[in-house]
């Protein structure tokens, strides 16, 4: 049990893979924009995310005046624990480490808690940029959480089970392309990368809810965002691409990496939406389309 939780396919494996995917994301976006991206640390800059993490651990940790100290200290820790625990429910080698009938619900409640943590992180900073960022996070992520959840109901309905292990036995990409598209869009909002990086829009509100965090707290938040990227890729693999399949870890790696490539292509292609455009888009278009997908599954399958 401890080996599976801590080393493979638990924490160590997830951390290595999360750093690797951050590198893939940064490098792909940079190459599309004819930049070099990470270059010096390790071959082709592959060790850059790890170097960033270690550097941030060594930095001075500043808590400024007027901060809610307890929340400010606790939130980075909780925000790192939750994605690690979530990833144990998603199949990496043939079966997931932990599972029960209905773990899809549990994973989604963790996603919702994660979004509230980011909002609270902005609130606890008591800084104008952080508060605006936190408000935007809650508005955006709650709007997109609902459509994400509705998009994932389709595979569960077709597989007639709520356990991610059982859903991941079949491919649902070809029977539910609409749901898959909605899932990809909502994942971009969930990871807060470019078309939906409204909560940390660098040219508008410095770094949003992350503004006041420094040192190890910033390192923890960065790692938790990388893990979020990994968990969205892994969840997409499990729900729509047939999970690890007969190849085991290799199948998982191929499918997840291709999803991360898709995320980075979309990120490089689009410009940032305004907050009202993104929220309206989710409530007016994505949610009705996701409901239509569920209806189609119910009628035809």
């Amino acid at each position: 049990m401890w080996f599976e939780t801590l080393i493979f396919p638990g924490m160590v494996f997830c951390v290595v893979l999360a750093f690797f995917y951050e590198w893939v994301l940064r490098k792909t976006i940079a190459r599309i924009q004819t930049r070099f991206g990470p270059l010096y640390t390790g071959p082709a800059g592959i060790l850059q995310p790890i170097a960033d993490f270690i550097k941030l651990l060594f930095k001075e940790d500043i808590i400024h005046k007027g901060t809610d100290k307890i929340l400010f200290t606790l939130l980075p820790i909780i925000s790192l624990i939750i994605p690690f625990f979530t990833l144990l429910f998603i199949p990496v080698i043939y079966e997931s480490v932990l599972s029960f009938e209905g773990d899809l619900f549990l994973v989604f409640s963790f996603f919702a808690i994660q979004c509230l943590i980011l909002g609270l992180a902005g609130y606890s900073s008591r800084d104008r940029f952080s508060i605006v960022g936190g408000m935007r996070t809650i508005l955006l992520l709650i709007a997109f959480d609902i459509s994400l959840f509705l998009a994932c109901v389709g595979p569960a309905l077709q597989a007639k089970t709520l356990s991610i292990n059982m859903i991941s036995k079949n491919w649902f990409l070809f029977t539910q392309p609409l749901g898959f598209g909605i899932f990809i869009l909502c994942s971009l909002a969930k990871i807060e990368i470019l078309p939906f990086d409204i909560p940390e829009a660098k040219s508008e509100i410095v770094a949003g809810w992350l503004t006041e965090f420094s040192g190890k707290k910033l390192a923890f938040f960065r790692l938790s965002q990388d893990l979020e990227l990994l968990s969205m890729g892994a969840l997409g693999t499990a729900l729509f691409l047939g999970g690890p399949g007969s190849l085991g870890v290799i199948g998982f790696l191929i499918k997840t990496t291709s999803l991360v490539f898709l995320f980075s292509f979309l990120t490089a292609l689009f410009a940032r939406f305004r907050i009202d455009q993104a929220v309206k888009g989710s409530w007016k278009f994505l949610i009705p389309l996701a409901l239509l997908q569920i209806l189609l599954v119910r009628v035809f399958v």
Binding site: M1, W2, T5, L6, G10, M11, L57, F58, K59, E60, D61, I62, I63, H64, K65, G66, P76, I77, L80, I81, F84, F85, L88, V97, L98, F100, E101, G102, F105, L106, F108, S109, A112, I113, L116, G119, Y123, S125, R126, D127, R128, F129, I131, M135, I138, L139, I142, D145, L162, V206, T211, E212, G215, K216, A219, F220
Partner: protein, 98 residues
């Protein structure tokens, strides 16, 4: 399940303490403890969230937990008990605010 959660929590808290050990100690320097204000001299704000959004987020969280309890429990007793306690709490808080 609880065992895994505890293991993960220990490791993460350990990593945090490691960061606490290896990072330099905080020094009191003027202006360093002021919140970031883009170069302007702005006071610390004590602003609250707009109450509608907080209420919405709270309801979302409550019903998330309710859904989770429906999933893991056999009957409807515990979810309904949970909902009753939450609704009672809401009524108490709401009446005290009004």
């Amino acid at each position: 399940m609880l065992q895994s959660l505890l293991l993960i929590s220990f490791v993460v808290v350990g990593l945090y303490l490691l960061g606490y050990l290896i990072a330099p100690k905080r020094k009191k320097v003027k202006y360093k403890e002021d919140p970031f204000a883009a170069g302007m001299d702005l006071p610390i704000i004590r602003q609250k969230y707009e109450s509608k959004i907080v209420l919405f987020a709270l309801l979302f969280l409550v019903f998330d937990i309710l859904a989770f309890m429906f999933v893991i429990s056999e009957g409807v007793f515990y979810p309904v008990l949970y909902l009753a306690i939450v609704l009672l709490g809401m009524i108490l808080v709401g009446s005290s605010v009004v």
